[in-house]
């Protein structure tokens, strides 16, 4: 009898924590700062234990000052350090709009490439049970116009760890969006060290009839819908983009050319949520491969309501995706 080695399971939150711990240990230039990230361990417990292990000079509690968090991160990054900044909620990126778009993303470019800005901005995002309109959004697409910064949105514990380690080691600034609703999600994370290159999409499920192009927490709903569709004889491919920049255009084109039927799905509202950009790329690169009009299954275009009861109607479900799959397969 042979035994297959069991791969360790870790939550999304622990996977991020482990990436942070490993990078803090590996490179003394790396430090963490944010609100309540120290002994308290962060609003969502993601940095728990790091303060005790690395001390208050590596894991720094800051005042409620988002412009300082990002702008100060840039100042530290251009003078030899590698800050990992935690925003308590991704929604607060607007509080530091100029620091993210004008400073973090442009400092290197506008100063003729004389500096590097090796910083990571961790942004806990998404609807996760009644946090309300100002603490529940998925604003990753807001940074699409901020050329100079990368945009990473991991969907599994494995990706969360591997992508964060790459982000910390990258010399470009990275906005790293982690969905609050996935912190408890468990998945396989090997003991051995690994990294995942930025800008490579992951084909989460192979299929022939319909493609779902998605990222973040919607990856799981897409996989659930694909499973259901398989029972009805529709073979669905699920492509997790993992990064909006660098964007894996080749992977998008490949899946479109393969199935000809495309659903784009994200949690943010349909308008301005990023899916339109993907659809435009498809139109530019491979429109003649389409057998059906592109469908977008995305968030409803209202603010995320405060009521938990109403919140559930804002984010698309596996059923919404299922209906779209049936529809587009028949087209």
């Amino acid at each position: 009898m042979t035994t297959t080695p069991t791969v360790r399971k870790l939550s999304y939150s622990r996977a991020i924590n482990e990436a942070l711990a490993e990078e803090l240990a590996r490179d003394e230039r790396v430090f963490i700062m944010g609100q309540d990230v120290g002994a308290f361990g962060g609003a969502f417990g993601v940095t728990r234990g790091l303060h005790a292990r690395f001390g208050g000079e590596r894991v720094i509690d800051t005042p409620i000052s988002e412009m300082f968090l990002v702008g100060g991160g840039v100042g530290a990054a251009i003078t030899g350090l590698r800050p990992v900044v935690e925003m308590q909620y991704a929604d607060f990126l607007w509080n530091a709009g100029d620091e993210i778009v004008g400073k973090m993303s442009k400092w290197r470019y506008m100063h003729g490439g004389l500096f590097t800005v090796p910083m990571v901005l961790r942004l806990p995002e998404g609807a996760a049970g009644g946090a309300g309109p100002e603490h529940s959004t998925c604003p990753e697409a807001a940074l699409l116009a901020a050329a100079g910064s990368y945009i990473v949105i991991p969907s599994t514990p494995y990706d969360a760890k591997g992508l964060l380690k790459s982000a910390i080691r990258d010399d470009n600034p990275v906005a790293y969006f982690e969905h609050k609703g996935m912190y408890g999600l468990k998945g396989e994370v090997p003991e051995e060290e690994y990294t995942i290159p930025l800008g490579q999409a992951d084909l989460k499920r192979v299929g022939d009839d319909v493609s779902i192009i998605t990222w973040g927490r919607m990856v799981h709903r897409a996989l659930e819908a694909a499973e259901t569709a398989a029972a009805d004889g529709i073979s669905v491919e699920v492509l997790d983009l993992r990064c909006l920049r660098p964007l894996d255009v080749a992977a998008i084109v490949a899946t479109v050319e393969k199935t000809g039927r495309v659903i784009i799905s994200h949690e943010a509202g349909k308008t301005g949520g990023g899916g339109g950009e993907i659809a435009a790329i498809i139109a530019e690169e491979c429109i003649t491969s389409l057998e059906a009009p592109v469908r977008r299954i995305c968030g409803i275009e209202t603010p995320v309501p405060q009521s938990t009861h109403l919140e559930q109607y804002v984010v698309p479900t596996a059923e919404d995706l299922g209906a779209a799959i049936t529809d587009i397969a028949r087209y």
Partner: protein
């Protein structure tokens, strides 16, 4: 200590900054550089003497008001001319192109946020970096009375004070933010009053007196290097020219401007050196003549640069 040699050096650098700018303005008249220039005439004492109190490895986040601080931080004049000409002789090889984006990591010149007040929080981050790296560098952040009112100042100054960071905030108070007088938008007369609210030292001085600037700055630098924390240094200065070249300046009375020009730091410092017997007329004339020649030689070299082509458009966007 403000030695006689330092006094001469401060004067030389102020004269250089003034003359360098005069030369730049002629290039502007000739249509060789863009009109987006905010002349620093009148601000020389504050910008130069404060920088002379620094080391090469100290950091500078300059502001848009002239170039005297960068020149006094020992940036090469060729690079600076090249930056304004937008060519590859510039510090950013023609990519930053003049005010606002000039940088020189070797001399600690970290660049500028074109959105005013962006430097307030960057400076605090640089201060934190110095503290974490355990060096005894300091960082200086320049800004005007207008930019002093950005919310970023509150966030940057608060952490600088709380963590005793080696940051020196220098507000160049010329009383005007383009056409808006300070009194119309600010309740207090001196920005130094704000320092107490952040637990930092606050000083307000005559920014037209270079020797006073040097001594005040030397104290602030010593405090910062020794772990004593940040300083908010206000220098009261006069902007001799328009906000930008071509500013009609209709908002400021002729009398106010004339009274300000009587305080010319370059002219008065020359007189002081003569009165104190530190140099003779001939010696100062020779010093100025040498500076003039240096500037012309730098310009000549800068003019040989090449403007970047389209193929360099995305250079430096990503590593």
């Amino acid at each position: 200590m403000l030695t006689d040699e330092l006094k001469i050096e401060i004067y030389r650098m102020m004269y250089l900054a003034q003359t360098w700018e005069q030369r730049l303005l002629r290039l502007l008249d000739d249509g060789l550089v863009s009109g987006f220039y905010h002349a620093g005439r009148g601000h020389e004492a504050l910008e130069v003497a404060s920088m002379v109190a620094l080391r090469d490895d100290d950091y500078l986040l300059y502001d848009h008001r002239g170039c005297a601080h960068m020149l006094a931080k020992r940036m090469s004049m060729v690079s600076l001319f090249g930056d304004f000409l937008g060519n590859d002789k510039g510090s950013t090889k023609g990519l930053g192109a003049g005010i606002v984006h000039i940088a020189d990591p070797d001399h600690g010149v970290l660049g500028q946020s074109g959105t005013l007040g962006g430097g307030h929080v960057l400076a605090a981050g640089v201060g934190l970096s110095i503290k974490l790296r355990k060096t005894d560098q300091v960082v200086v952040n320049f800004f005007g009375d207008g930019a002093a009112n950005r919310g970023t100042f509150h966030e940057g100054a608060n952490v600088a004070g709380a963590w005793k960071l080696p940051v020196i905030y220098i507000v160049q108070n010329n009383g005007w933010a383009i056409s808006t007088p300070q009194s119309q938008v600010t309740a207090i007369e001196s920005f130094a009053e704000r320092a107490a609210g952040y637990g930092m030292a606050g000083v307000s001085i005559d920014g037209m007196d270079p020797f006073l600037v040097y001594e005040t700055m030397a104290e602030a630098v010593e405090r910062a290097r020794g772990g004593g924390g940040p300083t908010l240094l206000e220098g009261r200065v006069v902007r001799f020219r328009g906000h930008y070249e071509g500013d009609p300046g209709t908002y400021r009375s002729k009398e106010e401007l004339a009274a300000g020009k009587d305080l010319d730091p370059v002219v008065r410092t020359r007189l002081r050196l003569l009165e104190d017997g530190l140099r003779t007329e001939e010696e100062l004339d020779r010093l100025q003549h040498d500076v003039d020649a240096e500037i012309e030689a730098a310009l000549e070299e800068a003019l040989t640069g090449t403007v970047p082509g389209r193929e360099r458009l995305s250079e430096g966007l990503y590593v």
